[in-house]
Amino acid sequence: MLRTSFAKEPKTHRVFRRLQMPWNLVAACIILIPVLIIAIFPGWFTHQNPTDFNYDAILSSPSAAHIFGTDSFGRDIFTRVLYATHLDLEIGVFCVLFPFIFGSTMGVLAGYFGGWFDSLIMRILDIVVAFPFFVLILAIMAILGPGMINMFIAVSIVGWVSYARLTRSEVLVSKKMEYVQAAQILGYSKPRILFKHVLPNVITPAIVFVVSDIVLCILLGSSLSFLGLGVQPPTPEWGAMISDGQSFLSQAWWISTFPGLAILLVGIGFSLLGDSLVDLFRLN
């Protein structure tokens, strides 16, 4: 028997490759589509209310009546987790919206037109990057005060920088590409070159970044709520629920555990989506 290569390809892989299915995307959809439905229509999955106190069933463990158990007020954890879904999804989306639009625009303009504008953007980039991200957010929230809106503001002020840097370097690379130079020689107007030739290739890495940024923002939002600086009670939010559960950890582990699983699941869903986009756009 000949043993000649470093490693042999597993048989299962031949089967998977033959099917040519984007497994990442499939898995991402299996996770995210139900999550989306739950976010919009939490009532379809539970008949209880997130604010229903039930003093007969305080700190009861997971059971048929309360799938995820109850907290110190007797509120059903399962219901609370479901009703909190839309909040973290909103946090994820709104935290990337402004940075994506504003940051990408700035980056593209800086990269394409260069000159003093580019230098200005680069200086701002250097300054913002010198601070640790989380600390900067905290500092801004220290100034503005706690709350979700302030969190969006803080993330917007700091977050656009990453998009600017990303799109700027993509534009610089594109500029050197031959098809752009060909377009310039052919005398196409600058806006036309920008929109039809440069933008499509520059925007795809940014979109992939958006997806992984959503994950980061959800983690950020839940972290801030956990610390008491984000979403304020009594609004149910996954991070805040985890914080509530910490005091009861030895008696009622379920209060902190299940909201965390929710965050994990949503994060995995978006990560898989991002990976499938990378494959789709052939960015690796």
């Binding site: 470093f6 601070f131 640790p132 905290l138 600086l229 950890l249 902190s256 555990t257 965390g260 994990l264």
Partner: protein
């Protein structure tokens, strides 16, 4: 000799950054809408207390004079006094900085120790069962919130199976190792996930190269091949990533410190924000920024040491 010249130049280059950092930190209090004194003491403070605070903090002087005083104080390590604790900020920070630094170093060590073997195993057994499991675990490590993992670990190894202390911190090497283990492990999960993914990818790329093939032709042992050739080249890009991750860690210890009740500067920051103790917030922000600058310099230096192609120009 060239190395020291590079070091000096790098340090000089950070001076403009440091100036900007000091400026921004200084401006923090003044960016808050409203009268700074009222913001700090609250709406119910007496007019006399407000006036005392204004005099003490020098709020009546024009901004540039205040900035000048601020810088002057910085150089004598005077960061003002804490409103809440009534002690110099510098003392507060220096008594707690050690805990946070220990935690960061501990986390980095665990991450490095675990990343290398995991990445080598992954690259060697590419796409087989073990590699897939590691990748899934990596995904979990990145997407799971740190504070949640901290709580789970505490539940498992401090409460259900009491091996480690539930929280708190005491000095003495053995105590530090014990009390910081779970926090450091928590923080390292995210780092390990990212680093293994990067190192594995670098290793796979390196394994494909001609120079690894040529090294195998020489007939050297697989172990030596892995360490001297593959790892050395593969580590370079991962080191930069390590530096970036360490920067994240600088602000990232906050939640874990809170969960495990560690007396570090992260907890100090959180509490000070809640109690609107702005001198402390300023001071901690400054320290954090300085740490990041330091880490960036160290990363650059180690990169130039690892890769002789990078000229120290």
């Amino acid at each position: 000799m060239q190395f020291f010249k590079y070091l000096i130049r790098r340090l000089l280059e950070t001076i403009p950054v440091l100036i900007v950092i000091s400026l921004l930190v200084f401006l923090m209090i003044h960016l808050i809408p409203g009268d700074p004194a009222v913001v700090m003491l609250g709406g119910r403070a007496t007019p006399q207390a407000l006036e005392n605070l204004r005099v003490e903090m020098g709020f009546k002087d024009p901004l540039y004079i205040q900035y000048f005083h601020f810088l002057k104080n910085l150089f004598s390590l005077n960061l003002g006094n804490s409103i809440y604790y009534h002690v110099p900020v510098f003392e507060l920070i220096s008594s707690r900085l050690g805990v946070t630094l220990n935690l960061i170093v501990y986390t980095a060590l665990i991450a490095i120790v675990l990343t290398v073997p995991l990445a080598i195993y992954s690259a060697d057994h590419r796409n087989q069962a073990g590699d897939q499991i590691i990748r899934v675990l990596g995904l979990v490590g990145i997407c799971a919130p740190g504070f949640w993992l901290a709580i789970l670990l505490m539940l498992a190894f401090s409460i259900k199976i009491p091996i480690f202390p539930v929280g708190g911190y005491s000095s003495g090497f053995l105590n530090v190792v014990k009390s910081l283990f779970l926090p450091a492990l928590t923080l390292s999960f995210g780092m390990i996930a990212i680093l293994v993914r990067s190192l594995r990818s670098s290793l796979i790329d390196v394994l494909k190269t001609d120079y690894v093939a040529f090294a195998r032709v020489k007939g050297i042992s697989k172990a030596r091949l892995m360490v001297r050739h593959v790892l050395r080249s593969g580590l370079i890009s991962t080191v930069t990533l390590l530096g970036v991750n360490l920067s994240w860690l600088v602000g990232g210890t906050l939640a874990v410190e809170k969960v495990f009740a560690l007396p570090g500067i992260g907890v100090l920051m959180i509490d000070s924000i809640s109690s609107r103790d702005y001198p402390v917030v300023q001071g901690v922000t400054l320290v954090f920024a300085l740490l990041v600058v330091l880490i960036n310099i160290l990363t650059d230096l180690s990169y130039s040491v690892l890769d002789p192609r990078v000229s120290l120009e």
